[in-house]
């Protein structure tokens, strides 16, 4: 994990590091580091960055229906969404 983290940090600057901290806002529902835990929701760790960004933007602009994510996604800038997606996509898929 540490080695992976260093590689990522080189590859995408501080995006993954910032994304790790930003993602911590999401983990109460989606699990620490996106792992999920007996989850009714999809596991986020290991999903592609583009898919994650597309989902969040669709929640944000209302094109993807949701119970709650449309309200939460509107709290985050496109840059923050990008950083969260970089972090999650670097994680292991379970």
């Amino acid at each position: 994990m540490k080695a992976l983290f260093v590689v990522l940090a080189l590859a995408s600057g501080s995006a993954a590091a910032n994304g790790e901290r930003l993602y911590a806002n999401c983990s109460a529902c989606h699990g620490t580091s996106g792992a999920g835990n007996g989850s009714a929701l999809p596991v986020l760790a290991g999903q592609s960055k583009d898919a994650l960004v597309a989902s969040m933007k669709a929640f944000k602009d209302g094109t993807r229906p949701a119970t709650i994510m449309h309200q939460i996604a509107k709290g985050y800038s496109d840059a923050q969404i990008e950083e969260i997606a970089v972090f999650l996509s670097s994680g292991k898929k379970k």
Partner: protein, 415 residues
């Protein structure tokens, strides 16, 4: 707690008191007071984000974590307290946190030390205080030890359920709500729903009376009132502006205006302030009730190197006192503590989210959500314009998400 872990904790204390020649350890040491949603999460994330480079000691008197969120379901009958009781073992075994089962009695800010009830002393480089709330019984003559609050999940939750079970059909459950702010804004109204759910199944001639010191339902108001009017029609009654000032013989409440209400089962939620250790340490500097913090780091506005989290703080505008929020405070604090102990500048503009799910029956749920971002000009956290909101209506789908929230939040806090 295991004896070995306890002895490890004392080892830190002995090494830190400086009465021997044991050299000061090179690793920075953070002491966390309180193993609730705030303190436990902070301890875990400081270990995670420092990659084990910071030693963390967590001081908590209780043997196990009992979740306040979902505890109203015990009153409704769809969950047992055991379902909400979780082990602290993961914090020690997985994250290498030193668990000390003890009560913090005094903080010496100048000496950077914490005195424990056992007599031991812990030395810190930074301190995290997450003491929760204490009840202000002085404002409720006759209530302490005579009336159940069940506002800290545990034996009182079970006792209140037992009283509801023993109550004959046709009785009334009376719940009193203190002036805001108090722990868990939607909690009292969820509780009214849970008791109504139980009555509708087992005691259909019984009533629920909500006596609220506030002028209106504090959280999710329109949704709760609709549930009472439709799902529990004729069963739940809501009185605003009823400030309870006393109770007598444990079953009758008296309002500020002298109104008296008789209950079959009485539940008084007392007015609240920051937990005792915050009072002792002089951290409770706002309105004589709450602890002021810098929202970039959650460092106290009066005590350097001391961070305060959770229900004990003076919140930013529209921020609830919730377990979810405490979990979020903890992460901003953990990131700042790791940065500060490594000589880095903490994040200047942190952002936090809140989600509160309320069960209006055994399966149907409503939520409130918000996103709070730091505003440099106002020096506080402000709800991001356009973000957040509430459910359109109660649903079983949100019931699943609510349970999912609980499982993941518990794991995020403890495992």
């Amino acid at each position: 707690m295991k004896r070995r872990q306890f002895i490890q904790g004392i080892g830190v204390a002995l090494a830190a008191t400086g009465c021997t020649v044991i050299p000061r350890k090179a690793k920075a040491h953070v002491v966390v007071i309180g193993g609730g949603y705030g303190g436990a999460t902070a301890a875990k994330y400081i270990r995670m984000w420092s990659e084990g480079a910071i030693d963390v000691t967590l001081v908590e008197p209780n043997a196990a974590f009992i979740s306040c969120p979902l505890s109203n379901l015990v009153l409704g009958g769809s969950r047992q307290l055991q379902d909400l009781t979780l082990s602290y073992d993961g914090l020690g075994k997985v994250h290498g946190i030193r668990m000390v089962r003890d009560m913090a009695q005094a903080i010496d800010v100048d000496k950077r030390s914490v005195k424990l009830a056992s007599g031991a002393t812990l030395q810190y480089d930074r301190l995290v205080v997450s003491p929760g709330v204490d009840f202000i019984w002085d404002e409720l003559p006759g209530a302490q030890d005579k009336v159940l609050h069940a506002w800290k999940a545990g034996p009182q939750t079970v006792a209140l359920r037992a009283q509801l079970e023993a109550m004959p059909d046709g009785g009334n459950f009376v719940i009193t709500i203190p002036p805001a702010p108090y722990r868990c804004p939607p909690g009292p109204y969820e509780r009214a729903c849970q008791v109504a759910h139980y009555f509708s199944v087992a005691k259909p001639r019984s009533k629920v009376l909500v006596l609220d010191a506030n002028p209106d339902v504090v959280s999710k108001g329109a949704l709760f009132k609709k549930v009472w009017a439709q799902k529990y029609a004729g069963m739940v009654e809501y009185w605003p502006n009823f400030k309870t000032v006393a109770t007598d013989v444990g079953k009758r409440v008296v309002s500020e205006l002298g109104e008296r209400v008789q209950a079959s089962v009485l539940n008084v939620i007392p007015p609240q302030r920051a937990g005792a250790i915050a009072v002792q340490a002089g951290l409770m500097n706002v309105n004589k009730h709450w602890c002021g913090v810098n929202f970039q780091t959650f460092e106290s506005t009066v005590a350097p190197l001391v961070h305060v989290l959770g229900d004990a703080i003076q919140t930013s505008p529209l921020m609830p006192k919730s377990g979810h929020m405490a979990n979020q405070h903890a992460k901003v604090c953990a990131a700042a503590v790791v940065d500060l102990l490594n000589g880095r500048t903490p994040e200047a503009a942190p952002i936090l989210s809140n989600t509160c799910y309320s069960f209006v029956s055994d399966k149907e749920v409503i939520h409130v959500a918000s996103v709070h971002a730091y505003d440099a000009a106002q020096k506080t956290l402000i709800v991001v314009p356009g973000s957040g909101g509430v459910s359109a209506a109660p649903s079983e789908l949100e019931g699943e998400y609510g349970m999912n929230w609980a499982r993941n939040n518990w794991a995020d806090t403890l495992f």
